[in-house]
Symmetry: C2
Subunit: 395 residues, 2 copies
């Protein structure tokens, strides 16, 4: 007799990009597929020093059970960090989590019943799509253009579907790299004043990786309702392996449900990791580190764009001011989904764009390219391989 699995797994295989990520372990393959920081951006010596310091100062507390609400000093230092994005929250409005992915899971846990409507940018982050699908959300796309999500399309979809949640990545979006304009940020926040039971998740992990232009305030900075949940992560700017992020929630009842959900999920996030990130923030070394990694990521992005400029004119690609991704639209005649295995045989990997859409089996002429974890040389080599492959196959 077969086991009776939960319905939430119907149609969720998790295998779509799993094989791609297995390839990343092969050092022969030039990978534009991941979303990893550069290895050179990870400071084992700094983290080791901080671990020693926090364990020497506060070891027993860190090794003992902690509070579900998070390590109190981190709630303070992270609130201070959020402030420079225009997100004015008190420490007790901020919940440290095990990566922003956990914030997504907990928000869904608090709000979604099977079949509830939810809106996502089209395209959007595939890891988030998988979380929403496991909560059996009824997903609807919102149109986007060069300036990010289109507020008129967002309002139209809110009216049509009465969603509980809207998921947005307004800055250097995953997968497109696009940034929501200032006017649209204000317009999106304003929408919540008219639709009084809609919650927006603002996922903002890339905002500090800016290589040109001026920083924009978060949507949350214009929120008068408490219904923008602002997620930021230290994964892209300190270390993803430490799994430390935080979500700001200024709606106390909702925050309470996030905490209860977290308690039943993992009791609390590891204290040591929260203390390391707290110490990193308090040392005042983060901005210098961001400046340093942004310099090389900017060069890597420039190199990848320079290579894309050598592709035929029918190939369109985004030109962001930061982040770690470019988005490529090939002519309809090129199928990036089916060409992936040929690409990896040639020694180069990307993620087919189809995986970033909530409508399955569409947009096979698109792909996401990551540049943060490849050297300038490998970007040149890898992009030349892709050009050759596509030119042989429909370009």
């Amino acid at each position: 007799m077969a086991l009776r699995y939960a319905k939430r797994f119907d149609g969720v295989t998790g295998s779509a990009i799993r094989d791609i990520f297995k390839l990343l372990k092969n050092p022969e393959i030039i990978s534009f597929a991941g979303g990893n920081p550069a290895n050179s951006a990870l400071e084992a010596d700094v983290i080791s020093q901080l671990a020693q310091e926090v364990l020497a100062q506060n070891g027993v507390q860190l090794l003992q059970y902690g509070q579900t609400e998070g390590y109190a000093p981190l709630r303070e230092s992270a609130a201070e960090f959020f402030r420079h994005n225009g997100v004015e929250v008190r420490p007790d409005e901020l919940l440290p989590v095990t990566g922003s992915q956990q914030a997504l899971d907990l928000i869904c846990k608090a709000l979604l019943d099977p079949g509830d409507a939810m809106l996502v940018e089209s395209p959007t982050f595939l890891g988030a799509l998988q979380t929403f699908k496991l909560y059996q959300a009824d997903l609807h796309p919102v149109e986007t253009d060069e300036d990010g999500v289109i507020p008129e399309s967002l309002e139209e979809q809110i009216r049509a579907h009465h969603p509980k949640l809207v998921y947005l990545i307004p800055t250097f979006q995953n997968p497109t790299g696009r940034t929501l304009s200032l006017e649209r940020r204000k317009a999106v926040a304003k929408l919540l004043e008219r639709y009084e039971d809609v919650v927006i998740i603002e996922d903002d992990p890339y905002r500090d990786l800016r290589y040109a232009g001026q920083a924009l305030p978060a949507i949350k900075a214009f929120d008068t309702t408490g219904r923008v949940l602002y997620c930021n992560s230290f994964s892209k700017i300190i270390s993803p392996g430490l799994r430390v992020a935080a979500v700001a929630c200024t709606e106390p009842t909702l925050l309470r449900k996030l905490v209860i959900g977290k308690q039943s999920t993992d009791v609390h996030s590891p204290n040591l990791n929260q203390a390391i990130v707290d110490a990193y923030l308090r040392k005042g070394i983060l901005m210098d580190h961001i400046e340093k990694i942004s310099k090389s990521y900017g060069q890597q992005m420039g190199k990848m764009q320079q290579m894309l400029a050598t592709f035929p004119e029918s190939v369109r690609y985004t030109k962001p001011d930061g982040g770690i991704f470019l988005w490529v639209e090939l002519p309809e005649s090129v199928n990036a989904t089916t060409l992936l295995s040929a690409a990896t045989e040639m020694g180069v990997a990307y993620i087919p764009g189809t995986h970033f859409y909530c409508e399955p089996d569409t947009h096979h002429n698109t792909m996401r390219l990551n540049f943060s974890n490849a050297s300038l040389d490998n970007i040149e080599k890898g992009m030349n391989k892709l050009k050759a492959l596509f030119e042989k196959n429909g370009l």
Copy 2:
């Protein structure tokens, strides 16, 4: 307009013992309420040294994104650790998680739809009950006695409710401290051969804290079906704040769903923490540490039992060979639930037993006492306070 919360939160407030745990922060209160290891059992210097070593050896890999399936060396060393409990699993059948609580959450995610039947020992761990309630499980109790869960009662309830899951803590159970006998372990495993779509969660975090008697093999050691999921944790024997545990699952399809669920929940558990525990295991220092802490926990348990022996004979309590809890049944005339606030005012805390039952508002004459985090002196003082309080209120 009110926010539309998920139905899974109907009736889940999370507040039952929340206020109790807030009291634990008051150093004036003698707490028998928690489930914490002794502060003196937490080795900040050892953990700091291991953190330095693993970051020096393997820092970039640890700070980079890791695999959802866990840090490969820990899967090996934890499989070796599981082996001494008679749980013969390969490293690839073992999933490291952020505390056993996460294993419970992921198992429910893989298997439970709202309203699905599930069986639990009566009484059982309240944190687990909260997880099961958030998955909207239809919970049914299974009778227990001095030798743990009663196989006949278990089979009867399986026939009556056709549950997807059975949750058992066979060794030094939370909250009772009771241990399932060898014969019953075999009988429980055997049941799965007759009920072919039932899964047992065997939660076994206390087994190494044994102060008398002989260790028994896990139920999993007798499992011929792959449907016993064996959870063990390093929280009680190394550190709860590190949040490292592992679940063994020898049913590949189910394991795959646990991994997909984990991917969408937090991508992976923090690498540094997994590497610290792996290094701890490989150093071969765990058994000496367990011997050391068991010696003092055994004395603490002895002291608490000695104090309970001074209570009137109408007070019954368990006499376990290990673990960190005793379970007390007072005469029906004493209400441990309502007396808690008077107890905390007198400077002593426990958890009312009612919170450990899936039937709400029952068993108000019971309580759980933890001895691992109180000195011998405080055990004497705290138990005397409790005795005086109960004697004034119905004892």
